[in-house]
């Protein structure tokens, strides 16, 4: 599931959850159209979370 980093404080009245900058939200924490809106807003409310460090190849010599 895609995750997003919060850039601007936001909240979901339906779940009662609030998120501060730096928090991570999952795709299901807000409706898809809201996430789309927040990625496009200037300044954006969310950004796509980093995928993490590349650990290199896992080839096995055979």
């Amino acid at each position: 599931m895609k995750t997003y980093t919060v850039l601007i404080e936001c909240r979901n009245d339906k779940t009662g959850k609030a998120y501060k900058p730096g928090d991570t939200v999952a795709a299901g924490d807000f409706p898809a159209d809201v996430i789309y809106n927040w990625l496009a807003l200037e300044p954006p409310v969310l950004k796509v979370a980093d995928k993490g460090a590349d650990n290199g190849s896992n080839t096995i010599d055979g």
Partner: protein, 259 residues
């Protein structure tokens, strides 16, 4: 949830006037005109059958204010300072008129707000009348004044005692020209200095998922006002959200979507 504001005709008695956080509504009598006017240039030529006009610069104005004279000082509360106490100095003000529709102003009702320079203040009286004050204001030169002065009320002076959000106001669609927001903090019951709040404006595309649009720095601990301005998209719904640390507050908020 979005409010359903009253619409239609109203009476001046349902307006409220705040300057720099001071609620002068208890002394107010009239404002003969408030809004925008434009310089006009006559562009009529010989072959035109009727006169033609071009609009020039706009003027923000608030003219013909009269109020009952009062020199009530700022006190511990809840008495607001009087008209003379607040208006005697010729200076700039954050001025807002909240227009209630056949009742005191509520969230969603129209507002007019601007930074204004007071250019006249006089005291008068005669006969059996109460001593009165009169004043006039025009758009201030201290900042790049916007012609966007008409907005909506997001907070109507209701006393707050807990964290929460006001009702949301539905604009029917998002806007892209940015915003201007005015916050007025008037006197509260008890010692205002012990009040501590955080005030923000939030916006939403669906009236349930909210993000912060603007954050005021005023914390409710003194009579004051604040103007914020921002650019870009404002989503369809806006509301005023307040977080209590201590005390009470009676904020008034005017929110303007810039064209």
């Amino acid at each position: 949830m979005a409010v359903t504001p009253s619409t239609g005709k109203t009476h001046i008695r349902y307006c409220r006037f705040l300057v720099d956080g001071a609620n002068l509504s208890g002394d107010m009598r009239t404002i003969s005109s408030f809004g925008l006017s434009s310089d006009q240039a006559d562009a009529t030529g010989w072959s035109n059958s009727t006169r033609q006009w071009l609009n020039g610069w706009n003027t923000v104005l608030l003219d013909g204010l009269t109020a009952v004279f009062s020199n009530d000082a700022e006190t511990t509360g809840p008495i607001d300072q009087g008209s003379h106490t607040e208006l005697a100095a010729l200076e700039d003000y954050n001025a807002s008129v909240f227009i209630g529709i056949r009742a005191a102003p509520t969230i969603g009702n129209p507002t007019m707000s601007a930074v204004m320079t007071q250019n006249a203040y006089n005291v008068m009286g005669g006969g059996s009348d109460a001593v009165m004050v009169e004043a006039s204001f025009m758009g201030a030169a201290t900042s790049e004044l916007s012609s966007n002065i008409w907005g909506v009320c997001l907070a109507d002076g209701t006393a707050l005692s807990a964290t929460g959000s006001g009702g949301s106001v539905d604009n029917a669609a998002a806007s892209t020209g940015g915003y201007i927001a005015f916050l007025h903090i008037p006197q509260t019951t008890g010692a205002i200095a012990s009040n501590t709040w955080a005030f923000i404006i939030e916006h939403s595309a669906n009236d349930s998922s909210w993000s912060t649009l603007a954050s005021f720095t005023l914390d409710g601990s003194a009579i004051n006002s604040e103007r914020l301005e921002g650019s870009g998209t404002v989503n369809r719904y806006v509301r005023f959200t307040y977080t209590r640390t201590a005390g009470t507050a009676r904020p008034w908020v005017s929110f303007i979507r810039k064209a």
